[in-house]
Amino acid sequence: MSVTTQREVENPLVEGLERLPVHPTTLVIFGATGDLANRKLLPAVYNLAHEGALPERFQLVGISRSEMSHDEFRTMAKEAITQFSRRAADADVLDALLTDVRYLPGTFNDEDVYGRLTETLDCYDQEAGRPQNRCFYLSTAPSFFPVIVERLGHHQLARHKGADVRIVIEKPFGTTLEEALELNKEVLSVFQESQVFRIDHYLGKETVQNMMAFRFANGLFEPVWNRNYIDSVQITAAEDLGIGSRAGYYDQAGALRDLVQNHMLQLLCHVAMEPPVHFTADEVRDEKVKVLDAITAPTVDTVADMAVRAQYTAGSVGGEDVRGYLQEEGVPETSTTETYAALRLEVQNWRWAGVPFYLRTGKRLARKVTEIAVELKPVPHLAFQADGSVGPRPNVLVLTLQPNEGVSLSLGAKIPGTRMRIRPVNMEFLYGTAFLSQSPEAYERLILDAMRGDATLFTRNDEVEAQWRIIDPIISAWHDQGGPVPQYEAGGQGPVEADRILIGDDHWRTI
């Protein structure tokens, strides 16, 4: 029995096409001269153009506070694309893409900006002879999200007869549960949830999507993917770099908000979720919300037992001496912002009850690695003696997201010789060795999906709120505690205090 989608029935030409059509769209980037737009968004748009993946009619409008003309913006965009695109820019494609780009200078609360935006969008519709979809991308400081949303609504730009309007909102979506609730309320007072695309760019990474393929397309793993066989799950997002020039942002955010509240909880969801019946946006997100709802939010009293924070001190990374966090440029001497966070969470449902999920992230650790390690329970009876060898160890399945995307499974194997001695060996699958294609940048996939209206890889309102419900009590507890914050030496494995949240014989994997 073949399965066809509604789209295939309606347009018989799309079946078999690798790139599904995207309807004519105007993409409006708020914050178009900012760092994210320059480094990620404009290069992503270019790469989509290069591959012929953009809609047959596509227009780009940039809005930012900087005063510049259309031509100056085009020049800036061209330079950004040339510098940051993953492929060398083709001059003809670049010219064709940027020829009709418009730039509207002004502050985001300036009524005049939205008047000029309306004129520009109407003008594009007239040129096309029909209404075009509109996609507003908010690549600004989070404090501008509410005002932009409100102004778009006020200027009747949240709806467009005969076409779709979508809004893409960058992270962070609030800095506390209260803020997230308030922001959701403001956004949903103007847009419907189906129009809202909250970006977590981790979800656009091929390897994160591959986790679902790994779990749900292989009969081998799912039977053991539960509390009966799995001892613990450890999710690590370690960086060897410091905060660089991001002190202003980072000292306000900290590791918990920067990575755990969004990316790492999403990874946890991908590990723990039940298989959706269909791979549709709402069914996938329903399953993720169930996982988040099954995590008991800590209380002020339990935070110390399940969460650890720390700051890096001076040390050595890659053979180079580096400064401690408090000595970084722009960081207040009295800062209590964590550069390391480790949590132990439990998913209280039939599949996972009793299995600890350890999450840790940090700056200036020994190396850059993002991985999910699933440790299986040991065999119930050991027939082999361990003398003279490392002996059997529990199997560990490691899904590595970066730098070497792939999967490894540790197995016990006999050491060659006359005796039955066992040591762990690794069976490795490296993603890059098995496919011909170069992975697209996460933003390319996400921008295209947003223009197409596919929200599978975006975070829904209830998902964001459920994430904050878990993280908010920890933030409050740490805020109330103040300093001093535990410390760890840059270039190392993190603070010794992190061992405090481990259960039984569990241990942190070496970074």
Binding site: E10, N11, P12, L13, V14, E15, G16, L17, E18, R19, P21, V22, H23, P24, A49, H50, E51, G52, L54, P55, E56, R57, F58, D90, D92, V93, L94, D95, A96, L97, T99, E127, A128, G129, R130, G162, R367, K368, V369, P403, N404, L430, G432, T433, A434, F435, L436, S437, Q438
Partner: protein, 353 residues
Amino acid sequence: MPIDTVWSERDTTPSEIEEALRKLLFERHGEDARYVPGRVLNMVCIVDREWAGEVVNRLERTGRYHASRTIIVAIESGRTTIDAVASIASDTDPRPGEFALLRETMQVTIGERHVGHLDTIVDPLVISDLPTMVWSPHGHPEAVDALLSLAQVVLLDSVDEPDVGDALGRARELTGAGLYVVDLAWLRSTPWRERFAASFDPGSLRAELRQLTRVEVRHHERSRAAALLFVGWVASRLGWRTDALMTADGTWRGRAHGRRQDVDLALATDLQQSVPGLAGVTVETASGRHLSLDRGRGGLRAHYTNQRGDDRTWTVVGASRGEPGILGEGIRQALLRDPTYNPALAAATTLVP
């Protein structure tokens, strides 16, 4: 700088070649465990000995799409023994914390007398359980036939055949034998198919697909196969009945029969077109809409008119892949399956005069 590791031998056997390659891999991995072999695709290229270098260069120029193990079978007239060169190479040195991908290449030089039993030479050299693609750009269909039991995919280019009917017939013969055919002529029409599908995708325009009254395809003088496959695709997707076209002044014309009305078809050679593939597509509908897509700078130039007098021109942005890009795409397609190719091929075959 990465260096190829090479082994060569005269008057050798497939077993010796396979063993030598295993040793090369073992040595390379022993030097640095971050060198890892790719395990994606076996590709067997059957070429005339004197053109082997040219084919290797074509494969090099495809950029990032390479089979993980490439076996060049070079046929030399009068040869009685087998010579072989095996090499493993990486495009990069492994960076800290990362791995470097190795590609394996073998050139096996054989005589005509070996062709009938080519499977017994190639079988020990391919990696089991990986898909195997066969490409024979210089003809040698008998060599391809000898490998059909080993291969799952055949790469061909219908524009290489002087007679388009023979070209499409050969593709049908191979698909009939259960192989997946990747035809570069089909891939040359991909951007046109995508754009054509997109032009009629907005809900208000989909009904127009049932009202098409004319399809004209302009093509490079040697790329009639690509044009036929494009029209065959439209016909098969929209359920048209097709008959053989007629030839007049170098243009192939005829009619397809849709549910509501007949559709005028035309395949015209564009002598200005310098590269293989399509030069332009024009469609018209019963309601008087007219849409043309033609090659232009930075993408396809779209031109739209209707009975109300609307007249619009714009660029559908996209880069030309060039011939190396088309070949690279052909290699990549070995891992995919396009369910619309066989119906398009069947319809295209009926259009040949």
